[in-house]
Structures are given as structure tokens and as C-alpha cells.
Amino acid sequence: MLTDDRPIFQQIADQLADGILAGTYPPGAPVPSTNELAAFHRINPATVGKGVNVLVDAGVLEKRRGLGMYVTEGARERLLADRRAAFARDYVAPLLTEARSLGLAPAEVHRLIDQEVEP
């Protein structure tokens, strides 16, 4: 399902990327076509195209003329590298912002993380 909080094309790109990371779409396999995704989500094909292009630009999908979009070799490794690089920005920074507004010191945050890892 799509939500309201982020641009729709970004959600399409993320959902395809999730599928590639999970192995649902292995290297060399096709992903659903733009028209299928548009019809399935009931959204404009131009929006889907924009989302797919995000992954083409990232080297994760490639267009095979007349056939459709396919997962590239090494797509999973590229996505993992991108997401690891963004992990601090997307998850750690917001965590620390929230901790600061609650008056939790970084040491306390460390302790809470350790506790979650090994209760």
C-alpha cells in the first residue's frame, strides 16, 4: 500500500528496492512493468516511471528494449551499500534528536540499544 507521507514515486522505488533486497527479484529477473504497477496501485504511469528511473539511475534496474525492466547483476550489493551509507542519516540522527528532546544522554541511548540487542 502507498501512504501520504512521502512522494509516491519514492515509495514505488523503495518497494521495488525492498523486493530486490529480499530476493523476491533476483539479479537478471524482471520486475513488474510500469503499466502493471500503475494499474495495481491505481496511480499514473508517469509517476511509476519516475520511481523506476530512480533505480535505473542507481544501476539497480536496466531497461531491455521491448522486454521491460530487469534487475542488474550486483543490484543487491549496490542497494545494501546505499542503505548502509544512509543508515546514520535516516535512523541514527532522528533517534538522537528524539533522545535529546527527551533529555536522554547519549550514554543512556547506548545502554538502551545494548538492552534491546541482549535483553
Binding site: 494499474a39 499514473n44 508517469a46
Partner: protein, 302 residues
Amino acid sequence: MTASAIRLAGVTRRFGRTTALDDVSAEVPAGIVCGLLGRNGAGKTTLMSILAGHDRPSEGTVEILGRDPFEQRAVMSSISFIRDNQRYPEDFKLRHVLRVAPRFHEGWDPALAAELVDAFRLPSRTTVKKMSRGQQSGLGIVIGLASRAPLTVFDEPYLGLDATARRIFADRLLATRMDESDRRTIVLSTHLIDEMEQLLDHVVILDGGRLVRSGATEEVTAGAWSLSGPAEAVLRLAAGRTPLSTHRVGGLLSLVFDGETPEGLAAEARTTGAQLSPVGLQDLVAAFGDRTSAPSREEAAA
């Protein structure tokens, strides 16, 4: 570069002392779905009548698929205009309408018509006059989509449609949009903006007879932003900018602004408990419609 299906230049339409359309200039590319949005009385139906060649502007020029729709019979037959209150003769039933419709549209698709009649569960024994609002809307959609007209114009196609029927329409509209063989252009007016936003390639927004926005949907919504939160913080952040619309309840204030989001303002807003956020199409259309009646613009700008 894609060709334009619709080209309007300085289109004005007066009815006596009323100006229904005031100097509207816009272009709509071919092969897409275009939403015509705005409040009641904004001029949407007047504009659609002009697009369909049922009416002509007092001033300005209209080109549909490269020609004046009012002058050219050839253009008329390539346009399907579905009004929200289409009248048929007293005793007309479904089969009469389906018999007449192909005469006006060369590309009439009987198989698609039959499929849609089924999907919308249109009754065959009831006269059109006695059909429910939703059934009449369904019939309009059957005619519009099965016409395969290069330009199809729907005036509020959703009136009275139940949730299932609205989905059927959305699905068929997308199927039409994705059909590479005929590249039809669809223009539709609607107030169900949230529901339609993701289906629209392009939007034309009218207010009080004037064009306020025309462009690709995402470009139009990217050209607006909102600030909301504690009134004091919001007013400080707004600092002299004039909002399109103002919504205030007690100590909470929300303002919608036109234009690019100012750099760095989002971070500044967060530190004061206010929020800077993008504006959805529905909020933007509502904000444009609110401009003339906004009571507290000066207060907000102060």
C-alpha cells in the same frame, strides 16, 4: 516534444455582465489525463463547453487537436463531451442510448461499451430519466470511454457513484491512458481531488473565472508549501509573506503559501514546534478557492 491537445489563448467568456472566464491561456499535452479543478462557479463547465465546441469564447482563441472546435465538424466528431446532466428523450432506455451513440463517434467500441454496462450494472428496463444519479453517471462514463474520441471531456463523472463504481472508472481510465494505440486525451472536472490526484498527469486550476495554475500535477503541488503549529511560532516564521489561505483554531494556525519552499525554513520551524510541509493538491485547490474570502490575511502577514 509532445503535441498539444488543447491550446487556449486569452479565452474570455461573458454572459451579460458576468465574466465566467477571464483571459485564460493554457496548454494541455496530448495523450494524458487532465483534471480541471476549482470551486463551484470557477468556470469549469463553461470552459468544458468551449473545449467541446458547444459554446465559443467572447474573446480569445481555442485550438483542439490543432483546430477551432466551433468551426470544424471534423473536430466535433473527435470530441466526446459528457455533461453531468445529459438530457435524453423521455422514453429513452439504455439500448436507445447505445444505438444512438455510435453515430456521433467514428471510433465507437461496442465491446468496451458492453463490458462497462455490465461492470456498472446499468439497468436495461428503466428509462434513463428514472435511473439513479449513480447509474446516470455510469452511463455517461460508458459513452465517454467507449466513444474512443481523441478528446473526451467529463463534467464531474463521479457524481453519485459508489466506491466500487469509482474504482472501475479509475481502472478503465488508467487502461485508456496506457493504451498506446490511440493516445486519447481525457479532461475531467472533479471535486474528489484526493481520490483522483494520483491519476492526473496534468491539472488546470480555475478560480473566479481566472486561471490560477496549469501544469504537470507534481510541478503544481511542488509550487506550494504550508506552515502549521502554535500561532505565535507560525507567524514569526511567516515573517511578512502573504499566505494563500489561513486556518486558525484557538492558538493553532496553519498557512498555505504559493511558491518554492524557502531554504532552511524547515529546520527553523522544527526548533519552534511548528511544521513546514508540502501541500497536497486538494489543499492547494481549496487554498486558491479561499483567497478571496480569507478574513485574516492581514493578521497573518502582520
